[in-house]
């Protein structure tokens, strides 16, 4: 059965059995192994991907179910060599220890800030409540997401380079 997906901006098409799970399609067919398989029973969130911007557990989706949709995996967060605000937050605040849950945590955090740019600590904790950190490093994960929110807020407030240039020139 044909599956056509856009993953991190690149279109992919493949012929797969209907029983192939999205996480296996991403890891095996597309060789994008940043999406992890943890519990494999939709409990841990290590397999989280964004489907049209919404975080879902890819171990509990069939690839054929999301044909035509746009997927973002952890590999899609950075713009070239530049880390996304969420990645910078995890880097600065030591938001990871073993790193296994990190792709899912960062994607959930990214989706949260899209619709709630200034979440409270409680809202962050609720947002990541479907993702388990086996190192129990939740304190720093929350701080990392807060850090990312601050980076985004600062970027939104800072005058755009063109605006500065225009102002300076005139």
């Amino acid at each position: 059965m044909n599956v056509s997906l856009t993953v991190n901006g690149t279109k992919h098409s493949a012929d797969v059995e209907p029983r192939v799970l999205l996480v296996d399609f991403i890891r095996t067919n597309l060789r994008l192994t940043g999406t992890h398989i943890g519990c494999d029973t939709s409990s841990c969130g290590a397999c989280t991907v964004l489907v049209d911007g919404t975080p879902l557990k890819s171990c509990t989706l069939l690839a054929v179910q999301v044909t035509g949709r746009s997927i973002t995996t952890v590999e899609g967060l950075a713009a070239g060599a530049a880390m996304s605000p969420m990645q910078t937050g995890f880097h600065e605040e030591h938001g990871l220890q073993c790193g296994f849950c990190t792709p899912g945590m960062m994607l959930v955090g990214t989706a949260l800030l899209e619709h709630n740019p200034n979440p409270t600590e409680e809202e962050i904790r609720w947002a990541i409540s479907g993702n388990i950190c086996r190192c129990t490093g939740y304190m720093n994960i929350v701080k990392a997401i807060q850090h990312a929110a601050a980076i985004k807020a600062a970027a939104a407030q800072a005058p755009k380079p063109e605006a500065v240039a225009a102002g300076g020139g005139k």
Partner: protein, 290 residues
């Protein structure tokens, strides 16, 4: 883990879906969001020859009002109920319960209709729909059929739906001066309920005109605490009346002892949650929060 092989159809219309089910309903499973079915397929507890994916059918998701009812399309996601301003204003029991279902990521994909048809005795929607006196609309090649929530749940993972039918809509009767509450005890986010209780009341002046009570995880299906409901009708919600209803609801519960607690403990949680839920529901009905 991956499921056993199956045929897969993703019909593009309801007519096509019921046509497939007319021909192959007996060997098929209908999938909406897949958040209950896919785990069963992966564990191979379920090995249907055919999966009919209705997840992309048009016009089956959304919350609206029609003829004194709140209507919920079967494909409405839990998260959509949780964040629905419409539901919050006319039937806050719905978003309150939605908030406790599984975890945020599952709520982004799982559907109200799918959860109801899965009929897990630990499912949250079943109790809520029993408390609200909801009707379920089922479609098949022979047309539309309305099934009352009280007649729908027949046993663990067993419903009144025929193999050729698909659930399309949930209809919830709306009443003024009503209020509800959902109380759930879970060990951690995403775990099945140890116990949960849905309560809805409709007030007539100082008295309870009508009460609905649904129990989660304390029987072979979501249970309607009918004796407790009847004991409240026409009464002022005094401490004694509430305590008696709570006692009757606990007596109706049939929990089993397991890792989440002993049967005795769970029955007592039912008692406490019915009391707590009734107090909250009555207060909400009185302050016009429904």
């Amino acid at each position: 883990m991956f499921p056993a092989a199956f045929d897969y159809r993703a019909p593009s219309s309801l007519a096509e879906a019921v046509d497939i089910l007319r021909q192959r309903g007996e060997e098929a499973k209908v999938m909406a969001g897949g958040q209950s079915l896919i785990p069963l397929l992966k564990l191979r507890f379920s090995q249907p020859a055919l999966v009919v994916d209705i997840g992309r059918l048009p016009n089956l998701a959304g919350i609206g009002r029609h003829d004194g009812h709140l209507t919920i399309g079967a494909l409405t996601k839990h998260a959509a109920v949780e964040s629905s301003a419409e539901a919050r204003s006319v039937c806050p029991l719905l978003p309150e319960a939605a908030h406790w279902i599984a975890d945020p990521l599952i709520r982004n994909q799982g559907t109200v209709g799918g959860s109801i048809c899965h009929a897990d005795p630990a499912g949250d929607w079943g109790s809520v729909m029993l408390a609200l006196g909801a009707d379920f609309v089922a479609n098949s090649e022979s047309g539309e059929r309305v099934i009352h929530a009280a007649d729908f749940f027949q046993g663990p993972f067993t419903t009144a739906l025929r193999p050729d039918e698909v659930l399309t809509e949930i209809r919830i009767p709306l009443a003024a001066h009503s209020g509800g509450a959902y109380n759930k005890l879970e060990r951690k986010v995403g775990d099945f309920a140890t116990v949960a209780v849905a309560v809805q009341v409709e007030m007539n002046g100082d008295k309870i005109a009508k009460a609905g009570i649904g129990l989660t995880s304390v029987g072979d299906r979501n249970l309607k605490a009918a004796d407790a409901e009847k004991s409240l009708a026409g009464k002022e919600p005094t401490d004694a009346v509430i305590a008696e209803a709570a006692r009757l609801a606990a007596a109706a519960a049939e929990p089993k002892s397991d890792v989440r607690g002993s049967a005795e403990y769970k029955k007592d949680i039912v008692r406490v949650f019915v009391q707590r839920g009734l107090r909250t529901a009555v207060a909400r009905a009185r302050e016009g929060r429904r």
